[in-house]
């Protein structure tokens, strides 16, 4: 498969595919635990400022992606407050690196992930969680042994949705980390770049086909996994 792809795709195209996969994977994996916690907090707790948190989470979904990208640049760029902090204390720079592309993709995909997981949590009967607590399980154990297994299909759906969104992220990425081949040029950015030069259409078309295959594959996989998990969780 790999050999076929490297033979079929040009080196620049192949680079973009690999980079996209890496960016989307990291964006999904790192934001997943945070997404589960956020969804749980939004679904099960009442506290002052809940609507503000909810708004913040959803902001990237509503804002123009360029705005989100620019805000990330202001915050996380070399001169940005968070960027300086990360650079000085941890030696991490995300601006104009593939890690920055992953941050942009993660932020843009986060609302979709949280929505899917939150719906799953709200579908869990709180009476089951009550039953677990009367049997001696603390809140953390109730979450780990009852809530988490029951929302697994929702988590998988949320993760795959986020992965697909991260693969396709364009506006925030190009604004935040620019379009550097081999560093921040993910698939959509590469397609865009190929379309800007004469004779680049063939390369763009090949990447479009790869994008369609990845999207369809992710969708089918999520259906398959979610169905298997749902059967297990469904109590039959």
């Amino acid at each position: 498969m790999g050999e076929f792809l490297t033979g079929w795709l040009g080196p620049a195209e192949w680079e973009a595919v690999r980079l996209s996969a890496r960016v989307a994977l990291w964006a999904t994996l790192v934001s997943l635990p945070l997404g589960v916690v956020t969804a749980h907090v939004l679904a099960r707790y009442e506290f002052p400022g809940k609507q503000i948190l909810n708004g913040l989470v959803h902001l990237p979904l509503i804002l123009p992606p360029v705005v989100t990208g620019y805000l990330l640049l202001v915050l996380l760029g070399r001169q940005g407050p968070l960027g300086q902090f990360l650079d000085q204390w941890f030696g991490i720079t995300v601006a104009f690196r593939w890690t920055g592309a992953a941050v942009a993709a993660g932020v843009m995909a986060f609302p979709l992930m949280v929505r899917a997981i939150r719906l799953a949590i709200e579908a869990v009967d709180p009476k089951l969680e009550q039953a677990a607590s009367t049997l001696g399980a603390s809140r953390l154990w109730v979450f780990l042994t009852v809530t988490l297994p029951l929302i697994l299909p929702g988590i998988i759906a949320g993760a795959i949705l986020a992965f697909a969104k991260a693969i396709g992220e364009f506006g925030a990425t190009i604004t935040f980390v620019s379009n550097i081949p081999g560093q921040t040029q993910t698939m959509p950015l590469a397609i865009y770049a190929f379309l800007q030069v004469p004779g680049g259409q063939e390369s763009a078309m090949r990447l479009v086909i790869v994008a369609i295959i990845i999207a369809m594959g992710a969708l089918l996989l999520s259906e398959f996994v979610a169905r298997r998990v749902a059967r297990k969780v469904g109590g039959l």
Binding site: D125, S133, L135, T145, L236
Partner: protein, 366 residues
């Protein structure tokens, strides 16, 4: 282990104000819906934090506003059996049963899995998932799960209410076994006087958030202000003396010999029999040529006319009290008065199987 319930709680327009101490055994919270039974049991479970009060099982204090003590539910060491079984759908029956055991202190693991599985007859279900169980099976597993958590107190909130009559008849005996074979106090919520008669050591009758009456079932079920005139009943202690070939069982009671349709318990077993007040016929003379098999001779202890056409007549028969519900006109026509000798007539077939339950009497408050 006695159960102290002092709870004051305001819930919108509803106020719960209870202050009772129940003796060991099965305490049934009895009353119509909206009387505060579930609120009270949830306060014991810690699912609801009352405004004020103290809840303790023996010296195990779960809640005390004066001492600023409030244990969260998972530290209360309870076994809560809910109306709907609430089994965890993603776990097998065995995993459900052992769930509470993960969290119970090692020393507190009272019953073994083998014994509980045996007690409830659920051995063949262990590898199944809850989705594949019938309603009765689910509730049996829920009882086992509560039991295996090593509880200091078992709570049951109308555990039979969601089941049909056949399933009720299937589950009720398991609660009797729990009462008789497991030494954990039980707080049981019910609005069914049949369940009270069969299970209760003590009845706490609730009405609109307050205690309307409290005592042994024979006393509370004979109180029309608590159960309503239609449900007036006597609860007699009996011993099975013989099963006859014609389908009747001979029972010895302190009121005399009763012949009832074949009971499920073996000869020698101690049981309780609930006799509905409206099934009892009174006669001044010893009746002759009557098809009814059970004729008990007693003395009228009390006559209480009701608001409607009926009156409640309590007969002292031997050491027992038998409550009859007859019309006020009949009381007048027969000239019934306290102190008179009177005969109570009871058709054998008037006692349904649900009225007969196993009963250990030693714990009954006399």
């Amino acid at each position: 282990m006695s159960l102290a319930l002092q709870v004051r709680h305001q819930l919108g327009a509803f106020a719960l104000d209870v202050d009772v101490t129940a003796p060991p055994g099965v305490t049934v919270l009895f009353g119509p819906s909206g009387s505060g039974k579930t609120t009270l049991v949830n306060a014991v479970a810690g699912l609801l934090r009352p405004d004020q009060g103290r809840i303790a099982a023996g010296d195990w204090v779960l809640f005390d506003t004066a001492a600023r003590r409030w244990l969260p539910p998972h530290k209360r060491r309870l076994g809560y059996i809910f109306q709907e079984a609430r089994l965890f759908p993603h776990m097998s029956v065995r995993q459900n049963l052992l769930y509470g055991r993960w969290f119970a202190p090692r020393a507190a693991r009272g019953e073994s899995l083998e014994r509980v599985v045996d007690l409830l007859g659920i051995g063949h279900l262990l590898t199944r998932r809850p989705g594949a169980l019938s309603g009765g099976e689910k509730q049996r597993v829920a009882i086992g799960r509560a039991l295996l958590a090593g509880p200091r107190l078992i709570l049951a909130d109308e555990p039979l209410a969601a089941l049909d009559e056949d399933r009720k008849a299937e589950i009720l005996p398991y609660f009797e076994r729990l009462r008789d074979e497991v030494s954990v106090p039980i707080l049981y919520v019910s609005h069914s006087s049949a369940e009270v008669a069969r299970l209760a050591t003590t009845v706490i009758a609730l009405r609109e958030g307050r205690v309307a009456a409290m005592g042994p079932p024979a006393q509370v079920l004979a109180d029309a202000s608590v159960v309503g005139v239609r449900e007036l009943a006597s609860v007699l202690r009996a011993r099975v003396d013989a099963h006859h070939a014609d389908g009747l069982s001979e029972l010895a009671t302190a009121a005399g010999v009763l012949h009832l349709p074949r009971v499920a318990e073996p000869v020698g077993a101690r049981i309780r029999v609930r006799i509905m007040g409206h099934e009892v016929i009174l006669s001044r003379e010893a009746p002759v040529g009557l098809s009814a098999l059970n004729i008990l001779r007693g003395t009228i202890a009390e006559i209480q006319p009701g608001k409607g056409p009926a009156a409640r007549v309590v007969l002292a028969v031997g050491e027992e009290r038998l409550t009859a519900r007859v019309t006020r006109r009949a009381v007048q026509a027969l000239g019934l008065e306290p102190g008179q000798t009177c005969h109570a007539i009871l058709k054998s077939v008037a006692v349904a199987p649900e009225d007969v339950g196993k009963g250990r009497w030693s714990e009954r408050a006399e």
